[in-house]
Amino acid sequence: MTGGPGLVAYLIVGAIMFAIGIFAVLSQRGAVMVLMGIEILLNAAILNLVAFWRFVNPNDYGGQVFVIVAMTIGAVEMAIGLAIMLMVYRARGTQNIDKFSEMKE
């Protein structure tokens, strides 16, 4: 490989990050921790986007615009998620998602 780290290196970092995000979402019990796992998933995708922009078509700054919109969506998702969490916490007194499973039974 010539030169600095190539596209494959960035994509592999993104893939591992995605796997860690999935682990965090599936294994944690705290609702805020699950939100944080979703944040990792989103950022893994954003890293891939930036890497593709840089290596495939760096002259089209539309790639960066796409990333900015994705970041916005991430921020909004987090704000709404936290607000819902706060509401649920007020109603139930816990943020443990195992306790919210009465739809199952």
């Binding site: 010539t2 294994s27 495939v56 539309g62 607000a83 706060l86």
Partner: protein, 471 residues
């Protein structure tokens, strides 16, 4: 490969390690605060990768948005979690000798069959008290020596030197046992029936005889059964079983609930995280909080005053699977499907890496001009106007939605008063009554007992100097 490329590789590897380490650290730590911070580290290190990809503006935006955003998340977690500093769980992990990483070892066990646990908590408590009583009878003699020993023990404990929580706990409990015996012996020798305050004290001691972590859970359930007595806000040593005025300063006596009598007056300064956790417990709607299963642990503790170290996960699961399950229901960080989640995520990662490795990617093409911000600004206001407006509207909708969702209902009757306190009243010191760190409670009661023992010893001594009523 020239020097510049090498530098790029070094920066890349460092940043990638920080990204992955931060993401992993978030799932593996038990301190909520640290989890938020390590996620922040992960996302900020990703900004380093952006700089390497020559997307400076995205890097700056990434840092700006995520530092603020993760900070909000961290603070929310600290407010909502019952043990944000992770201290209680570390204590428990050490005590139960759980193997493995921090949070991975605190996962939910599979749900046990509906078997009645053999030694339920009240039984074991009674057993323990009975054992203590028997021991006391045996060691009635040579109390003066024991008195000395107790005094020494007390001196040793007041020094905050010993850092090992096990040893301190054992010391305290030994001293407690000694002094309990002593108190009983003294009272029997004086041939007086134990007063109301005396029995209150004894109750407190029984509670604090249990291991460290159960004290908080116990206080919730015992508060209803304990008799309330009254104490002066300025002179905590003044106690009475009926309301009145303090003989020392004339202030009105305030009611105090049984076993918590000594914890409110003097609390350790170093108890911030425990304070937060205690607030969560006091505020959780189902009174007993998440520590409901904790009495199950008593069966693991010996009744002879010293800690029984056989409190490993295996032994506990075998002896009391239901109790263990209930305990973990409150404490565990990760779900029972931890292994499945791990396997699934590893498979996902492997598949992704395999797919990436199979494709022949393009080589790096050079960026033409690096004045990214201007270009992006132009694009945002020309070609991508709709996307820009859409994002702005989305943000607006997000702000409004978040505010509307999180707003507190004013009209609803105050059913959830406790949780309201939890979310707003971080300052009020009166809610921190039973949140002193677990160690300080037996410690303080211990001190009281010594005071009382010394006083009654003085009263019983033949010289008969000033007999002061301490009770």
């Amino acid at each position: 490969m020239n020097w510049n490329d090498l530098l790029q590789w070094i920066v890349f590897i460092v940043c990638a390690a920080l990204v992955l380490g931060g993401a992993l650290g978030m799932t593996l730590t038990m301190s909520m605060y640290r989890a938020g911070l390590s996620l922040m580290l992960c996302l900020v290190a990703m900004a380093g990768l952006f700089v390497l990809l020559e997307a400076d503006m995205l890097a700056v935006i990434q840092v700006m948005m995520n530092v603020g955003g993760m900070l909000v998340m961290t603070l929310f977690m600290v407010m909502l979690m019952q043990d944000p500093g992770g201290e209680m769980m570390w204590d428990m992990k050490r005590k139960m000798q759980m193997p493995g990483f921090a949070a991975l070892s605190m996962f939910m066990p599979p749900k046990p069959k509906e078997v009645a646990s053999k030694n339920s908590s009240p039984d074991s408590l009674n057993q323990m008290v009975a054992q203590n009583g028997a021991k006391m009878k045996m060691t009635q003699t040579n109390k003066s020596e024991e008195m000395k020993m107790a005094a020494q023990n007390q001196d040793g404990m007041i020094k905050p030197s010993s850092s090992d929580p096990h040893r301190r706990l054992r010391e305290i409990q030994q001293a407690m046992a000694v002094m309990q015996q002593q108190l009983v012996a003294l009272e029997e020798e004086l041939d007086q029936p134990p007063t109301a305050t005396g029995s209150g004290n004894m109750d407190g001691m029984h509670h604090s005889n249990q291991p460290n972590m159960s004290s908080q859970g116990q206080s919730g359930s015992s508060a209803q059964t304990q008799p309330t007595f009254y104490t002066c806000p300025m002179h905590p040593e003044v106690r009475s079983d009926k309301p009145g005025r303090c003989p020392k300063c004339g202030m009105d006596l305030v009611p105090v609930e049984g076993s918590d009598s000594s914890s409110g007056s003097g609390s350790d300064e170093h108890s911030g995280h425990q304070t937060m956790s205690g607030m969560r417990q006091a505020s959780s709607s189902d009174g007993s909080g998440s520590m409901a299963g904790m009495p199950g642990m008593i069966s693991g503790a010996g009744g002879d005053g010293s800690m029984n170290m056989d409190m490993t996960v295996a032994s506990m699961q075998k002896r009391d699977p239901k109790g263990y399950y209930k305990m973990m229901e409150g404490m565990a960080m990760s779900t029972g499907q931890l292994k499945l989640a791990g396997i699934f995520s590893v498979i996902t990662g492997l598949v992704l890496v395999f797919l990436i490795a199979r494709v022949a990617w393009l080589p790096k093409s050079p960026a033409l001009d690096l004045d990214g911000p201007t270009r992006v600004g132009d694009l945002l206001l020309s070609d991508y106007m709709m996307a820009f407006e859409g994002a702005a509207l989305l943000i607006l909708a997000g702000i409004v939605g978040a505010v509307v969702l999180a707003r507190r209902e004013r009209n609803r009757p105050q059913k959830k008063k406790q949780s309201r306190i939890a979310s707003t009243n971080l300052v009020a010191p009166k809610h921190t009554q039973d949140n002193t760190p677990a160690l300080s409670k037996p410690y303080l009661q211990n001190f009281r007992v010594v005071q009382k023992a010394v006083a009654s010893y003085k009263a019983a001594s033949p010289s008969g100097t000033t007999t002061q009523e301490v009770g």
